[in-house]
């Protein structure tokens, strides 16, 4: 099935945010953890950095538009040294170098995807704060939903089976029917069962 990876990524990520299954994803894919993802509480901050944003490196480029683009990209890139920070938040020397690289390449007219590709070529998918959807991360992205569906399917199957069982147990034999009819008609069968509430009348 041809799926546009960018599209599936954005759909998946919005689903992930709404359902908050990140923690489950981490549990499921713990062997993949080192290579692929950190779906813990530190998700990608929405929006770009502003001057009031604490813990964010100060602006350097003279062009505010370029600086904003650089910061937007930097928030999507993981610092390899302090791995739970983006390169926008980290002051590790490598993060500073990488920010400079991003700024320089944007200034040279490269588009954002090119800059991301440039870094992924060198540092791998690990440099992306939001892991891409591919063979290695497929289980991580799809797993929680597959589990949810499997759980719902199992529940539906159980409920259906139970209903069938009740229906089978509750079926009346011809003799039972006859007795019930007699009781409803107020027949003498009630006398044989003095403890039944109907017999008080």
């Amino acid at each position: 099935m041809p799926v546009d990876p960018k599209r599936s990524r954005s759909i998946l990520s919005s689903l992930r945010r709404t359902l908050g299954v990140g923690a489950l994803a981490v549990l499921m894919a713990s062997p993949l953890h080192a290579a692929t993802a950190d779906a813990g509480p530190a998700t990608v901050p929405a929006g770009i950095a502003t001057a009031s944003d604490p813990g964010v490196a100060p602006a350097v480029a003279a062009d505010p538009r370029l600086e904003a683009d650089m910061m937007e990209l930097s928030h999507k890139l993981r610092c390899l040294v302090c791995q739970n920070q983006s390169i926008a938040e980290s002051n590790a020397p490598l993060a500073v170098d990488l920010r400079n690289q991003v700024r320089e390449q944007l200034a040279a007219g490269k588009d954002k995807d090119d800059v991301i590709d440039y870094l992924v070529e060198r540092y791998g998918d690990f440099v992306l704060y939001e892991p891409p959807f591919n063979a290695a991360t497929g289980l991580l992205w799809v797993g929680p939903f597959a589990l949810l569906l499997a759980g719902a399917g199992w529940l539906a199957w159980r409920l259906r089976r139970r209903r069938r069982e009740i229906a089978a147990d509750g079926a009346l034999s011809a003799a039972d029917r006859e007795r019930a009819r007699a009781l409803l008609a107020g027949g003498g069968d009630a006398a044989s069962n003095p403890a039944s509430p109907e017999s008080r009348k």
Binding site: L27, M28, S30, P31, H33, A34, A35, L80, V81, Q83, P93, L94, D97, L98, Q101, V120, E121, R122, Y123, G124, D125, F126
Partner: protein, 197 residues
Amino acid sequence: MKAKFLVPLLLFFGLAGFLAFGLTLNPREVPSPLIDKPAPNFRLARLDQPEQTFTLEDMRGQVWLLNVWASWCVACRQEHPLLVRMAEQKLVPVVGLAYKEVRGDGAISTRGMSLEAETAMAVERGRRWLADHGNPYVVSVMDIDGRVGIDFGVYGVPETFLIDREGRIRYKHIGPITPESLQTQIMPKVEELRRAG
């Protein structure tokens, strides 16, 4: 059907197994996407003769190691005696990449320093360090601004790349080389590449 009560227990063991495996992984070791790809080319000034440059081409036809080091790097001191011993035994040629020799040192501010001044300082510091600790490198080159380091995906010092005769990166060792990693990881791969070519 009797064993149904065992299902949660088995699920628990399965999960515990995954988590236990997760504990054996080192999240600090990020696998390099450059393995089996051509090493990024570079042209850098040599530490011993700064007016001359060195490129990957100079090592073509040899199986060699590119060792990223810096005089300010503490872990490099730990692996350095081993590199010196390797050079004495002529195990495999090692090229040194002096990574951000001046600006990487947190104790020095390079603000307002010209590139020439920084290079001169890097030459002086690098040579002194090699004189003090021994020089195991066939040649050392200076990556003053860390740009070549980024091309190689370096995110810490020391790191060591194994490069084959055709100039492809075949293995990356993160952190100081130990006698054990040399014996069990690096040298077998070197031998294999030598046999292959």
